[in-house]
């Protein structure tokens, strides 16, 4: 449980951090909830680690027009307990509150989580359902990537070499929306065996908008667009939920086979949709 020797730098400014990572193979350390255990097991063997904890301006939550900006170094606890997020994007707070355990939530960060892109992480389901954008910065400039284009594969994102996650921008949820994050936590790791994030709007009895993000089921978080379309075209919850995971290959491990995982994703989608609908006004 001792990592390989590595160089450690803790830059004091974003400029310094960007220069460091532009200079070659660097591993960025945010909250360290995934990187440090992997290093201790020598599954990750970085030669140079750049710790962002001293970089000013990366930690904080602010309202910017019709969205909320969450600095990359904001902890899960920070998100979960933020009055602004609870009021403006409650789905994200609900997902954050179910990440790992309290120790992990006190250390782990949203930037670290999205950059690591664990296929069983909780945030990505909520972020794709919220149509969030990931804001990246490099020595060459800044760019923004939609969450559904950001998570490419297990542990693979749209981040290019030299880029750092600056913040995550989450559009404000409409007050009338219903939302829900439902997950099956793995009994050992606490990661999502499946996790389903749902947002819905309804007028009368009719669903006018549905967004469904799914994590844990496949190699990346995805939007269950077929299920969304079914809901928006008046299908009942069971029928829509049964379409969740269509076209996606389901993961398998000791705890859950691919068939069971797919089934869980559908059951939990149905539960999350029903709960979200009951919250919608």
């Amino acid at each position: 449980m001792i990592p390989q020797t590595f160089e450690y730098t803790s830059p004091a400014t974003l400029q310094e951090a960007l220069q460091l990572i532009a200079g070659g193979e660097r591993k960025i350390l945010a909250g360290g909830m995934s990187l440090i255990p992997m290093m201790k097991l020598r599954l990750a063997l970085p030669e140079h680690v750049v710790d962002l904890s001293r970089v000013p301006g990366l930690n904080g939550i602010s309202e910017a027009g019709s969205s909320v900006k969450i600095g990359a170094m904001t902890t899960h606890h920070g998100v979960e307990s933020s009055p602004l997020i609870r009021a403006k994007c409650p789905l994200l707070a609900e997902a954050a509150s179910q990440i790992g355990d309290i120790q992990v939530r006190n250390m782990g960060t949203i930037g670290g989580s999205v950059a690591h892109a664990d296929p069983a992480a909780d945030y990505p389901a909520a972020l794709v359902a919220l149509e969030a954008r990931v804001h990246l910065v490099s020595a060459g400039g800044e760019r923004t990537v939609a969450a559904s284009d950001f998570f490419l594969e297990a542990f693979t994102t749209a981040i290019e070499p030299g880029e750092i996650v600056l913040d995550v921008e989450v559009p404000v949820e409409d007050k009338s929306e219903g939302y829900r994050y439902e997950k099956v936590p793995h009994p050992a790791s606490g990661f999502a065996v499946v996790g389903v994030a749902v947002r819905v709007k309804k007028t009368g009895g009719k669903v006018t908008m549905a967004r469904i993000g799914v994590t844990g089921m496949s190699s990346r978080a995805f939007r269950a667009r077929a299920a969304e379309a079914l809901l928006e075209s008046g299908a009942d919850v069971a029928k829509a939920a049964a379409a969740v995971g269509e076209g996606e290959e389901a993961n398998a491990d000791l705890y859950a086979s691919s068939a069971y995982r797919r089934h869980l994703a559908q059951v939990y989608a149905a539960r999350a949709i029903a709960a979200a609908l009951s919250r919608a006004s």
Binding site: M1, I2, L41, A188, S189, L254, Y260
Partner: protein, 776 residues
């Protein structure tokens, strides 16, 4: 002067908070890793990445050249040292020579191959990666039934059948029992491999003093004295030159009831380098290299009359031993055999054990050690019989219990149950859940399509290990009570508590017996130089055997105190109570502290009396004790996902008299947690190559606090006649009673689908598949 006789307030029976806890919860306790000695070196162990391989070559040059590396030890360095000891003996037992480090072959994943010693633990770890080992991988087998199949890879080439031993035991007339039977039910039942997962991993500091040729070994162990004898044997050194200290031990559950290669290795290395050396096991190593528990595949047959009368029980027990015998490995399944009839009057038994070598870390004692497997077997079989006969499972149990008037009761397996009232805890549990009403509720729930289950287990335990002839080591225990000149009391106990709370419960006993304040009592343990030889803590023996030794030592001490008191009061008839020695006729008295002072001052010695106030007593138990109880679990299964919700958990345990109910609560809670772990979440899984797929806490699910149901814990009290305290033992009861109650409840929930048995752990997918497919 009028005499008022007031019964002094007793400490025994009170919920006194554990005196050891403040240091544990404030981080001020000293564990092995807190031991720091000037000049100390750190060891890191190079371990096999293969479950079976030949070692064709080993090159340590790069490691030795690494700055800061003091030495690298390999198999060649230790080949003449004694093997890792197996303390159990069975007729015809095949015992592979268990070298401290692999010689030309490795037998399980994590098998130690070399030790790198360096000035700090980081250098040692880096240099371990520089040791080049040339392996030729071989076919491995990690499943005991596959290991028995013809053509399976041989774990040890000299024994191609992979059979370490076979063992047969019978009692009564099994053939006749099965002839007379109206019904025979059969079932294959497994008790999966478990990883004990103590919060503190193992660790050793060895400190050799060449000047006085003395070695101090700090190690996280349950058995410091036995370990001293055995490690001295491995090293070929004089036992009294070795001092073993078990500092604070952060959990063990049987996994530290052992002598491990690393303990002898560090001792040897310290002597070779003439420097102190420390090794702390990583969590990964703890998963790979500290013993596992359970590992049973059991084939049961239960014969009964149509009215439910149990006649005979047959068991074929396949024990996954792993690659070697650790201290008690082959003895554990024999404990399952002797406890196989449980609480029932089952007059005929027949059992056959096959002990099987596999390419896996050895199994050995883990909380309950053989009894959970036996209890799981019989309690599942009783439910299966009840289902077959369409009888209520509670009624079937009540019908077959050994009755209170039948104690001492001789079992078909050769044990003598000490005392019991087996119906009492079951009746209490039934009343508590309002059983009839609950069954009605269940039938309503079923009508609505709900999967609600009611399950019970009525378990029997074998504790207070035990009579020496019945154990591989002495089963007695010793205690010394020293009254210091100021009247303060020091207890030296040979048990080595590591969470059982005897620093508190023993002080309660002393306080009552001597009438001293509990804060004036200190209980010392875990140091072979400080404490007289002892056996240790395992098999729920701390209080029942160690506490009894203390009780008898206190009686001897009291006699001497009274002798001094009588002399000082010039009386020939004194009483000792409440810390005062009194002559009731004269009304004169002398305090306990005054007597202590006089005993050491040496001026007022009674005739033929030595100065000082010290008593030592070694107590040999005449029998085991047999606690029992009833656990009842109400579950609801989620039809869509297979997830299990425990709605109620009722534990009614009878552990005889209770010294400290708070400690007993803790033992019940912890025991149930580990029982739930086995029932619902835990399983050590090796793949066909002998790779451990559950090798980290991210994959191997131990119960977390928020997984726990509320435990409705209560007791019935049937004192044991085996010891004067009337205590039986509670350390393992929760674990033993739990798993069958949970499985019985879930099987009951699914019984309407035709499910008759489910093997542990009851993972949601397993349950979901049964719901999909019906039949188990």
């Amino acid at each position: 002067m009028a005499t008022t006789i007031t019964k002094p307030e007793t400490l025994v029976g009170k919920r006194i908070r554990r005196r050891e806890d403040p240091r544990l919860i404030t981080g001020t306790a000293t564990y092995v890793d807190d031991v720091k000695i000037p000049g100390m070196q750190y060891a890191c162990i190079v371990r096999s990445p293969h479950a079976a391989a030949k070692i064709k070559g080993l090159n340590a040059k790069a490691a030795l050249d690494h700055p800061g590396v003091a030495a690298v030890f390999t198999g060649a360095d230790i080949k003449d040292l004694g093997p890792v000891p197996c303390g159990a003996s069975l007729p015809g037992l095949r015992v592979p020579h268990h070298h401290l480090l692999a010689q030309d072959r490795v037998y399980f994943l994590g098998h130690p191959v070399a030790v790198v010693v360096a000035t700090d633990r980081y250098i040692a770890r880096d240099a371990a990666d520089l040791v080049e080992v040339d392996y030729e991988p071989l076919d491995a087998v990690a499943d005991p039934e596959k290991a028995l199949a013809p053509g399976a890879p041989a774990v040890h080439p000299e024994w191609p059948d992979n059979i370490a031993f076979t063992y047969h035991q019978d009692g009564g007339d099994i053939a006749q029992a099965f002839r007379e039977a109206d019904v025979v039910v059969k079932q294959r039942i497994t008790s999966q491999r478990l990883i004990p997962t103590a919060m503190e991993t193992r660790g050793v500091v060895a400190d050799w003093h060449s000047g006085d040729r003395a070695l101090t070994l700090y190690t996280s162990t349950q058995i410091p004295h036995l370990l001293r004898t055995l490690v001295a044997g491995i090293l070929g050194m004089r036992e009294n030159h070795l001092r073993v200290i078990a500092p604070e031990v952060g959990g063990a559950f049987g996994s530290k009831l052992n002598v491990y290669a690393e303990e002898a290795l560090m001792a040897h290395i310290s002597m070779r380098l003439n420097k102190p050396v420390k090794w702390i096991e990583s969590r990964r190593e703890n998963f790979l290299c500290t013993i596992h528990g359970r590992g049973h595949v059991d084939y049961y047959e239960l014969a009964a009359k149509r009215d439910g009368t149990m006649l005979g029980l047959k068991l074929k027990l396949i024990q996954d031993l792993g690659a070697y015998h650790q201290l008690l490995t082959p003895a554990i399944p024999t404990l399952s055999v002797i406890m196989m009839p449980g609480l029932y009057k089952c007059k005929s038994i027949s059992a056959d054990i096959v002990g099987v070598f596999t390419n896996a870390v050895p199994t050995d004692a883990y909380r309950g050690a053989g009894r959970p497997e036996a209890t799981h077997g019989i309690e599942r079989m009783v439910d299966i019989l009840a289902a077959e006969l369409k009888m209520d499972p509670a009624e079937l149990r009540l019908k077959n219990f050994v009755q209170p008037a039948e104690f001492p009761y001789a079992t078909a397996t050769g044990l003598t149950y000490d005392s019991g009232n087996y119906a009492a805890p079951l009746q209490k549990a039934l009343d508590q859940v309002e059983y009839r009403k609950l069954r009605q509720e269940q039938s309503n729930a079923r009508a609505q399509g709900k999967l609600m289950g009611i399950g019970m287990s009525t378990y029997g335990e074998l504790c207070a290990a035990g009579p020496s002839p019945a154990l591989p080591v002495g089963g007695w225990e010793g205690a010394t009570v020293k009254v210091e000149p100021t009247g303060k009391v020091t207890v030296l106990t040979g048990i080595s508590p590591h969470g059982q709370g005897e620093e508190t419960s023993f002080a309660q006993i002393v306080g009552d017996e001597l009438g001293v304040d509990i804060d004036d009592v200190v209980v010392l343990h875990g140091d072979t130089t400080l404490v007289q030889y002892g056996i240790g803590t395992f098999g729920s023996r701390g209080l029942s055997v160690g506490g009894t030794a203390l009780y008898f030592a206190l009686q001897e001490l009291k006699a001497k105190v009274k002798k001094f008191g009588a002399h000082m009061l010039a009386s020939n008839d004194v009483t000792l109570s409440g810390g005062t020695c009194r002559d009731e006729r004269s009304g004169k008295s002398v305090s306990f502290a005054e007597i202590a002072t006089a005993a050491y001052r040496g001026i007022q010695l009674p005739p033929n009396t030595q100065p000082g106030l010290v008593a030592t007593y070694f107590w040999e138990p005449p029998n085991f004790t047999f606690p029992f109880g009833a656990h009842m679990v109400v579950t609801e299964v989620d039809r869509e996902t297979g997830a299990i919700d425990i709605r109620r958990y009722i534990a009614v345990d009878d552990c005889g008299n209770i010294i400290n109910p708070l400690i007993v609560d803790g033992q019940v809670h912890g025991g149930v947690a580990q029982g739930l772990g086995q029932a619902l979440w835990e399983e050590a899984v090796y793949d066909d190559n002998g790779q451990l797929l559950t090798g980290e806490l991210t994959d191997y699910a131990i119960p977390k606090a928020h997984f726990m149901p509320f435990i409705e814990s209560s007791h019935t009290t049937t004192p044991s006649p085996v010891n004067p305290l009337g205590v039986k033992g509670i350390g393992e009861a929760g674990t033993i009673g739990c798993s069958p109650a949970v499985v019985n409840s879930v099987v009951d929930a699914l019984s309407t689908l035709g499910v008759r048995h489910i093997d542990m752990p009851l993972t949601p997918e397993k349950i979901w598949k049964l719901i999909q497919g019906g039949q188990a």
